[in-house]
Symmetry: C2
Subunit: 397 residues, 2 copies
Amino acid sequence: MQKWTMTALGLFLGCALTVAASAREAGPLLVEKQSFTIEDFETQGGAVIPEMTLGWEAYGALDETKDNAILVTHFFSGTSHAAGRYSADDPAPGYWDAIIGPGKPLDTDRFYVISVDTPVNLNAHDPDVITTGPASINPETGEPWGMDFPILTIRDFVETQRSLLDSLGIETLHAVMGASMGALQAYEWAASYPERVDRLVPVIGSGWADAGLIAWLNIWAAPILLDPNWQDGAYYDGEPPLRGLAEALKIVTFHAQHPKWANATFGRAWADENADPAASFEHLFQVEAVLDAAGAARAAVSDANHFLYLAKANQLFYTGHAEGLYDGLMAIEAPTLIVHSNDDLVFPGNAVRETASLIRAGGAPVEVVELAGMRGHLDGVLNIDQAADQISAFLAE
Amino acid sequence: MQKWTMTALGLFLGCALTVAASAREAGPLLVEKQSFTIEDFETQGGAVIPEMTLGWEAYGALDETKDNAILVTHFFSGTSHAAGRYSADDPAPGYWDAIIGPGKPLDTDRFYVISVDTPVNLNAHDPDVITTGPASINPETGEPWGMDFPILTIRDFVETQRSLLDSLGIETLHAVMGASMGALQAYEWAASYPERVDRLVPVIGSGWADAGLIAWLNIWAAPILLDPNWQDGAYYDGEPPLRGLAEALKIVTFHAQHPKWANATFGRAWADENADPAASFEHLFQVEAVLDAAGAARAAVSDANHFLYLAKANQLFYTGHAEGLYDGLMAIEAPTLIVHSNDDLVFPGNAVRETASLIRAGGAPVEVVELAGMRGHLDGVLNIDQAADQISAFLAE
């Protein structure tokens, strides 16, 4: 892989380079992945999963009254690794390290920040992720679940987190905060357990999956279903559908950015300056090669069936999963700080503003912070430090 | 297929219902597909295609001085059927029938409106389309060209049209007008043959394919490459890659609209009110089922390799295909009327406005008309009548 590809890939794959500097100033926050198991987890759909084992991380210390916890819920392709490093020589910290740590907005000298790997986590083959999903062994058959794994909802994700908090004796959360699919979990927490959530910080997410998001999630997932290796999800004995999964992750990678960034970064440059794209279908433009490489890199630690289950959970989401579409949002009592970008193509600005209006209509105060940047949706991860002061102030109130 | 699906599908597939009323007022314009062949067509890349046969249509009469011709260039998934009906009982007229016909802005009582099927036309298996591309027989081998067909550019499309106009004795065009990929051809005409183009009307298109468009075209095409029936393009003896092609056309169909339309039309409705999407991966939301049906319907008359060649031609496009990226736009001399939508996700508003600025900087006058609507990019086809007055006035100047 050429040098420019690696560099650009780094920009796509995360915030490693961006946040490394700020982490270094404060000294590395060392973190450890832990795990917990829920026996006989009953899903919202009524199925029972005999063993639901998930990973989690925490930064800071839980105080004696156990009222200083902030739950951070992760995005579609994310994990519970929100901050810190696994070792002093770990090249990259967690994705929101810019705002989590000693002296940062989610100040680990004051707060106990906790994050949990979701069930059906995309990064099922990343050794630092602990999840339960289609790629896990069904203890009743001794075989991977595949597509027999029960369909889960965002509410189910919340319930796994509630189990962990219960086991730690944490009754109320100082705040719930999450980006993208993490925002959906945060809304769901505040709507389902208003008495346990003191503050709500949804980032780059709106209160329900609208037809636009439902359709995009379908389009994201479609390449997996086309890959002949997918085999209706029963690929664990053979070759996984890596090409389809890479294509799916390529779409996600591009859709989660704003084209103005791609235009400024790549323009019409060729992937190889000696290989004119006009001469062959093998010759790509730079933006195509970078997206291909990003998709393939992400596919290597991901699971295709987990992708499908995540897409389904996101399609099924509307806050509260209640009778009326807006009931859940109206039930939110926690003061809310919404952070988003108007260049977000996944959760567009108008959907986020409608969400804010509905929470306000239900009586809870809502503040909205708009991020600026070139990255669209991803600015909520890569440029979250723009909202650092507002987040600090909101958490101190 | 259920009734709602058919109705919604109609909305996706074209402007038939929308424009039928206006066509009826003026009485049906009956049109006939004709064809012409270019021998030994030399591509911009230097390859020779022994026989380039293409279809064309014309509405109105060419006057004696042959200076009343308007060339209409078609969009990615379009054909030369811009207006009129093939028979009195033809259920739908051509796509821009709202503005082409007697007494309409492209007034066929005054103008000779002519349109040509592009090479590698997507609708290769539509009996009303005549095109030459990978699905055609290579006369030198007696077999379909497949991926041995030469890569073409938008400039090559223009050259086929120039050949036809030359054969008809048409030296100068009163105007060149086209939507989307048709706009690209229009820009290319004005830049390549400034002495032959008196007026330029690019609709929903900008002056070059930027990284954003290049990436989307790659994403559109990817499902075809994943379909095991694609067979590196050599599928003409077997099963065509219809699933991959349908997925590709599904993405195009959705991307060419604005999500606000999908949200207003489908919301979170289920495809089948008795089949909760939470219960099974087989159960879809309505927007998913409608997009699936639209993709499959379009795939039935389309050719997968032709899709790939069209995507390539669009990726390779920048006006003039000259040394500098902006040289072609600066070379345009024709007064220009640009029509576009700020909700266009394929050719975003800022790219269109930059294009207008560059043409102005080259000295040609440019007027910009912004369409309002719910359909994003497609408003340039479905709601072109909003710009009827401006188009009429511009063509009369």
